[in-house]
Symmetry: C2
Subunit: 379 residues, 2 copies
C-alpha cells in the first residue's frame, strides 16, 4: 500500500532531500563542511528573519527547549509560561526541573493565550525574567498571538520573550527580529521536512546579555559554546552532518518558493481542509486562532477519534495523529507541514470521508473534496 | 576526484545504510517503528554484550557522556577520571560543570592508564563514587585496559565504572556485563558507520540504583525517563527515526559478519597499517596498547603532520585526521572504523607513501604496501 505521512512531525521528506543525505558523508572538520554550514546558517537567518546567528544543535526540538531554559534562567529566577497544551506544559516541566519559579497562564485547550493576561501577570510581578510560549501548540492546533505577546514583553527590559516555534517556523510568519523575539527554537522534522535530529535556536542580543549571568550546570546544550564555534564555521561538538546536508537542500527549495508564497500556500491548504471538514459536519477543534501547521478536528458525537486515526492508517496507509491526553479519542490531527501540496490535502479529505462513511457517518462522498477543491483553485 | 573517508568519525557509511535511510520516513509513534526499535534494541544488546537495556538518544556521543555524569553523580560527589587525551579531559570538564569533585589520573598522551594507579586512588579515597575512562582514546590512538580497571572498581560496591566506548564498541571486544562495566556510552558515527546523531548508553543494575539517588537538573538527558519509555517501545522524546532505520541495517551487517570476525578483521587491518608505517620509518605514536580503532602515526623529524594530512586530502581526496592540541603537526591519524576493508588499508598506506615521497622523505615506494599485503593475506 502506498504510504502518506500526514502527522505533525516527523513529516514527509522530499526525494531531493532524501537523496542529498544518501550521498557519501562529509567530515565535520573538513573545509568543505565549513563552507556548507556557513551557507546553511545564512539561509536559516533568512527563514528566522533575524540578523543574529542561529545555533544548530544535534538533538530534537526538546533539547533546544531545555537549553532555552538552562542558558537564560538561574534557579530561583521567575518565569511565566503559557500552558495551553502538551508543549506549553513542557515549558513548565523544564523550568521546574531547573528550579525556576513559575507563574502559569492556563489556557483552555483549543484556545489561544490572551496577551492581556500576559500584561496583567507581568504588571503583577515585574521581576519575571522570561515568558515562555508556543507559536503553534501542536497538541491542540492553535496558534498563539506571539507578536502581540512580544509587544507586551518588550516594555520589560529584563524579561526575555522565548518562543517554541518548532511547528510554526516555515509554515506561517514568525518575524524574530521585527517582533522582538529573544529566543526562538525550532526543529528539523516539521516544516523543514527533514528527519528529526536537529534543533535550531535564534538568540537576540538581550538574550546573550542574559546568558552571561546564568550559571546552570550544562555541557552539551551550552549555547555560548555553540555561539563561539560559529566564528570557526563549526559546531561545538560533532555536527549531525547528514542532516545539515539535507537542511541545505530543504532551505534551497524554500528560498526558491519564497517565504510569502510558502505562507500563502500553507494557509490555503489549511483553510481547504478545515472548511471541507466543516462542510461534512466535523468541527475544527480550536475555538479560536487555528494554526496553519496542524489541523485538529473534533470527532462527531458517538464516534471514536482513535478509530478514525487507526482506519486511516490501516485501510489507507495514511499516518495522521490522534489526540493527546484528555483529547484522546476526541480529536484527530492532520499535518500541513513537510513535503505536502494541494493533492495531499485532497487525499486527506477524501480518506476521512471514506473512513467516516464506512463507520456509518451520514455524508455524501465528495462533498468535502469539492469544498477543498473550490478553495485550492484560488491558488 | 574519488573521496575516501579515513577520519576517526564520522566514518564512511555503506551504500546499504545510506539507501535504507533514503527511504520515506516512518512516524516515531507508528506501530511499525515500535517494532523496529524493539529489534534494534535487541541487536544493540548483542553488540554491547549486555542483558540490560541500551538507551538510544538523539544526540552525538558527548550528550551520552554528559548524561553519564548528570544521571549518576550529585554535586559534591567525588569522581576519579583518567585523563590521557582530549576525551579523557572531557570527562573532567563535564564533571566540573556539574559540581562533581574530581580526582584525576594524568596519563602521558600515548600511554595507557595503569590499573594499579586506579587501585591506589580508590584505596586512598574509598568515597569515590565513579571512575570515568575511555576504552579507546581517539585523540592518541591508545586503548585503556578497561577490563582490568573494572576489576579494581568491582571491589567498591558504591563506585560505578563508566566507560566512553564511543570509538571502541564494534571495533574490539568490550564485554559490558562480564567485565562489570556499569555505564557504557557509544555513538553512531564510529564503528557503526552511521551519520552522527545517536548516542547509546548501557546501564547496569548498580547504575540504575545510583540514578535513583541523584537529583541534578536535567530533562533531555534524563536516563530514567528514557529507560521507562523502552517498555512502550518508544523513546522519551522524538526519536531520530532515520538514523535508527540505518542502525538496524548496520547492526544486521555486523551480526552477519559476527562479533569475533569483526574484531579479528579490524585488528589485522590496524596491524597491517602500523607495521607498514614502521617499515617505512614512521613510528606508531602510542608507546603502549595501540587501539585498533584509530592509528596515530608520529611524523618524522623535520616534516609537518598537518601538511601530510592536508596533502592526503588535497592531492588524493583522503580525509584523515591531524593531531589535536599539543600533538598538532606531530601526529596524523588514520581511522580503522566505519565501512572500510582490506583495500582501504592498502589505499591509506599507498597514499601516505606517495605524499611522503613527494615531500622528499627517503623511501622506496611499495615498501609499506608490501608489508601490509603480507599481513592482510593472513586473513
Amino acid at each position: 500500500m502506498k504510504k502518506y505521512l500526514l502527522a505533525p512531525g516527523p513529516t514527509a521528506i522530499s526525494p531531493e532531500v532524501l537523496l542529498s543525505m544518501a550521498q557519501p558523508i562529509l567530515h565535520h572538520r573538513a573545509p568543505e563542511f565549513g563552507e556548507l554550514i556557513k551557507r546553511v546558517r545564512e539561509d536559516l537567518k533568512w527563514l528566522f528573519q533575524t540578523e543574529n546567528e542561529v545555533l544548530i544543535i544535534a538533538s530534537t526540538g526538546t533539547g533546544g527547549m531545555e537549553g532555552s531554559v538552562s542558558n537564560f534562567l538561574n534557579p530561583g529566577d521567575k518565569a511565566l509560561f503559557v500552558n495551553g497544551g502538551k508543549f506549553g506544559e513542557r515549558w513548565g516541566k523544564i523550568c521546574k526541573s531547573y528550579g525556576v519559579l513559575t507563574e502559569e497562564i492556563t489556557v483552555e485547550w483549543g484556545c489561544a493565550v490572551n496577551p492581556d493576561d500576559v500584561a496583567t501577570a507581568l504588571k503583577k510581578d515585574p521581576t519575571i525574567k522570561a515568558v515562555f510560549t508556543q507559536a503553534s501548540e501542536t497538541s491542540t492546533g492553535v496558534a498563539h498571538p506571539i507578536r502581540e505577546v512580544a509587544e507586551v514583553v518588550k516594555s520589560y527590559p529584563d524579561c526575555l520573550m522565548v518562543v517554541d516555534a518548532i511547528s510554526a517556523l516555515g509554515v506561517f510568519d514568525v518575524q524574530t527580529d521585527a517582533w522582538g523575539l529573544d529566543v526562538v527554537v525550532s526543529g528539523s522534522q516539521k516544516a523543514l521536512a527533514l528527519p528529526p535530529g536537529l534543533a535550531f535556536v535564534a538568540v537576540s542580543e538581550k538574550g546573550w546579555a542574559r546568558a552571561d549571568k546564568v550559571n546552570n550546570a550544562k555541557f552539551y546544550f551550552d549555547f555560548k559554546k555553540e555561539h563561539a564555534a560559529i566564528k570557526k564555521n563549526q559546531t561545538a561538538y560533532t555536527a549531525a552532518v547528514s542532516l545539515i546536508v539535507g537542511l541545505e537542500q530543504s532551505l534551497k527549495m524554500m528560498k526558491t518558493e519564497g517565504r510569502e508564497n510558502i505562507y500563502a500556500r500553507r494557509a490555503l491548504m489549511a483553510k481547504a481542509l478545515r472548511e471541507a471538514m466543516t462542510g461534512i459536519g466535523l468541527a475544527s477543534f480550536p475555538k479560536q486562532s487555528p494554526a496553519v501547521s496542524v489541523t485538529a478536528i473534533s470527532v462527531p458525537e458517538g464516534y471514536d477519534g482513535q478509530a478514525i486515526y487507526k482506519d486511516l492508517r490501516v485501510k489507507y496507509g495514511i499516518t495522521a495523529a490522534g489526540g493527546q491526553d484528555h483529547l484522546k479519542g476526541k480529536v484527530f490531527r492532520i499535518s500541513n507541514m513537510g513535503y505536502l501540496d494541494t493533492f495531499d490535502t485532497i487525499t486527506a479529505v477524501a480518506a476521512i470521508e471514506m473512513v467516516l462513511k464506512a463507520m456509518g457517518f451520514p455524508l455524501k462522498l465528495g462533498t468535502g473534496v469539492g469544498i477543498a477543491q473550490e478553495i485550492l483553485l484560488k491558488k
